[in-house]
């Protein structure tokens, strides 16, 4: 073993530039794999966000985006009358997508009592917006901005202060929540509100109540009723595409690490064909040659993996801090999970081994007298 380690290191250091180039080419493959795997993982997480709410939502039937929905107060009163024993409460919500300080954010405004008690919002830090020009923000927003409690942001010409951080049980959108009164003071009441929320009694069946409301002409003349969860799905139709894309990304990343490692190691060994041949002539059996060359390739692969992992980690950390990615106000969080890192390492080593195996295997089919060439 001592001889093996000694000759391997000596060989690698003597071959400095070639070793370095091999490490760099392998590291590029490793970085590609880890970034693709991280992106794929982020898409999967994005698509898998679920919502536990049993609320119903009423939206303008012709609106593709909730922002284009305009509903009158009368529609909430009608809903309460249609199924009075199954509905606990109804309340309006203003909804906008706005570019605030370079970030596309959702602005939501609901009555404070409903915000605290009827929506699936959990206060993580700080306090609910109690006074004028106050707001809470989701932890999803914190991930894509540098905002914190106390931050003041200008929305539609008015300064709002962040008083708390909340988490919703559904998709982790980057959202700002303010009171309905504050929302009306910003956007006005001329166009009504965008989303009507219907809170059901615990014993009510959301599907049945939805069907009842949807079949009533007072509702279906203007609006459509959705489960809050299915609206999230409708709103996030992009999720399915992202999920498909994540699968493609995962396959590409696996191919990158597989063929990239194999090619880099095979190329490195092919360049050393003359020396491998000489060792074979001197009496090194294929098994001994394979052990030596595999050790050499293992050193290169581990060095490259370490470098590649470091670069990928630095990139993801930098990106998370300075250039976060979000899709429709929902942050796409890149990370380097241990499972991807370990899978990449195992694949790299396996395919380095395969490269060695095939290269030394071809020795028996080579003309050893080629050494004189």
């Amino acid at each position: 073993m001592r001889a093996l380690g000694y000759f391997t290191l000596r060989d690698l250091f003597h071959d400095g530039w070639r070793s370095l180039l091999t490490v760099i080419s392998l590291a590029v493959v490793v970085v590609s794999f880890l970034l693709l795997a991280a992106l794929s993982q982020a898409y999967l997480s994005f698509g898998n966000q679920t919502q536990a709410s049993t609320n119903l939502m009423i939206i303008d039937a012709n609106a593709l985006d909730p922002m284009e929905s305009y509903l009158p107060e009368s529609i909430l009163q009608a809903a309460a009358q249609i199924a009075p024993t199954q509905i606990l409460a109804t309340f309006p919500s203003l909804f906008r997508h706005l570019d605030i300080q370079g970030h596309i954010l959702q602005i939501r405004a609901v009555p404070l009592d409903d915000m605290q008690n009827r929506l699936s919002l959990t206060l993580l830090q700080g306090s609910w917006p109690a006074g004028a020009q106050q707001m809470v923000v989701t932890d999803g927003l914190i991930q894509v901005t540098s905002w914190k409690i106390g931050t003041i942001a200008n929305i539609y010409g008015k300064d709002f202060q962040v008083t708390g951080i909340v988490r919703s049980s559904g998709s982790q959108f980057a959202s700002v929540w303010m009171t309905y009164a504050e929302g009306l003071s910003l956007f006005g009441s001329a166009n009504g509100f965008q989303i009507g929320y219907v809170q059901l009694t615990p014993s009510a069946d959301p599907d049945k109540v939805r069907a009842i409301l949807q079949s009533d002409p007072r509702i279906n003349a203007h609006a459509a009723v959705y489960l809050e969860t299915s609206l999230a799905d409708r709103y996030n139709q992009v999720n399915q595409n992202l999920l498909n894309l994540s699968l493609v990304q995962a396959v590409i990343s696996l191919l990158a690490i597989t063929f990239g490692t194999y090619n880099a190691i095979r190329l490195s060994l092919t360049e050393r064909g003359h020396e491998i041949l000489l060792l074979h002539i001197l009496g090194f059996t294929q098994a001994k040659l394979r052990l030596f060359l595999f050790t050499r390739s293992l050193f290169l692969t581990l060095a490259a993996y370490l470098v590649g992992w470091g670069i990928a980690w630095a990139f993801i950390t930098y990106q998370g801090l300075h250039a976060p990615i979000s899709i429709q106000a929902a942050p796409l969080i890149l990370s380097l999970p241990a499972s991807s890192s370990l899978l990449g390492l195992l694949l790299s080593i396996s395919f380095a081994f395969l490269g060695v195996w095939l290269t030394t295997g071809s020795l028996s089919r080579r003309d050893l007298s080629a050494l004189q060439d």
């Binding site: 001889a3 001197l282 050893l368 007298s369």
Partner: protein, 233 residues
């Protein structure tokens, strides 16, 4: 290293080597019969392309004949497996090449101990023996130098020390002085002659060097893959 007794004989009969160059058959060796006694100093001459290297490669188990029978040190090489051929080379044959074929990343001592490691010697034992061998070829002071830091003559001495490492019964040398100046060539010739006489190692040398021909116990001339002339002293 003690004198090797009665090993290193070579018997070849009807050796033929045919290469395929595209669809064309090239006869590299034809009807080669050779009998070398243990401890002989044999020289093979011939023009470039006459088949000298091919013959040495076949005798050393680097290449296989297309036809014919061959035994070296009473080991029948006809039809033996690749693994057995590797072991045969490792245990019986030392090789010296025109261009030395030293591993450029290793120093002189490391190059010499490679055959020991191939044979499974311990690290310590291999280095001790390697140092002795370098001393025998007059290079104990150059142990730590890499091939790039050695002259042609010194590199060939390292190659000879490496060839002697496993105490071979046969050393096959292909143009061992072909890349050297006259003084270095003479020094290498003296070293090989000394090893042959002192240790009884059989030498088969392919060369153009007339000095080696004069020293040979028998010599053969190859022309177009056939022996045209043989002389014994």
């Amino acid at each position: 290293m003690s004198k090797i007794e009665n090993t290193g004989s070579i018997e070849a009969s009807g050796l033929e080597k045919v290469y395929l160059r595209g669809s064309e058959k090239v006869v590299a060796l034809s009807s080669i019969d050779l009998r070398v006694k243990a401890g002989e100093f044999v020289v093979i001459t011939g023009h470039s392309g006459s088949g000298k290297s091919t013959l040495l490669h076949i005798l050393g188990g680097i290449d296989r004949p297309t036809k014919g029978e061959l035994s070296v040190n009473q080991i029948d090489l006809t039809g033996i497996s690749e693994a057995a051929l590797t072991r045969f080379r490792r245990d019986n044959i030392g090789f010296i090449f025109q261009f030395y074929n030293l591993l450029p990343s290793l120093n002189a001592l490391d190059n010499v101990i490679m055959p020991f490691l191939a044979k499974g010697f311990s690290w310590k034992a291999a280095r001790e023996r390697g140092a002795v061998l370098l001393e025998q070829v007059g290079l104990s002071h150059r142990q730590k130098h890499t091939p790039g830091e050695l002259s042609g003559g010194e590199q060939q001495r390292v190659a000879i020390a490496r060839a002697m490492a496993i105490e071979p019964c046969v050393i096959l040398a292909d143009e061992p002085t072909g890349d050297l100046d006259t003084a270095s060539a003479n020094s290498i010739v003296s070293l090989m002659e000394n090893l042959n006489q002192r240790l009884g190692i059989t030498f088969i040398i392919a060369t153009h060097n007339l000095h080696l021909v004069e020293l040979a116990s028998s010599s053969y001339e190859l022309l177009d893959g056939r022996f045209t002339q043989a002389s014994e002293k």
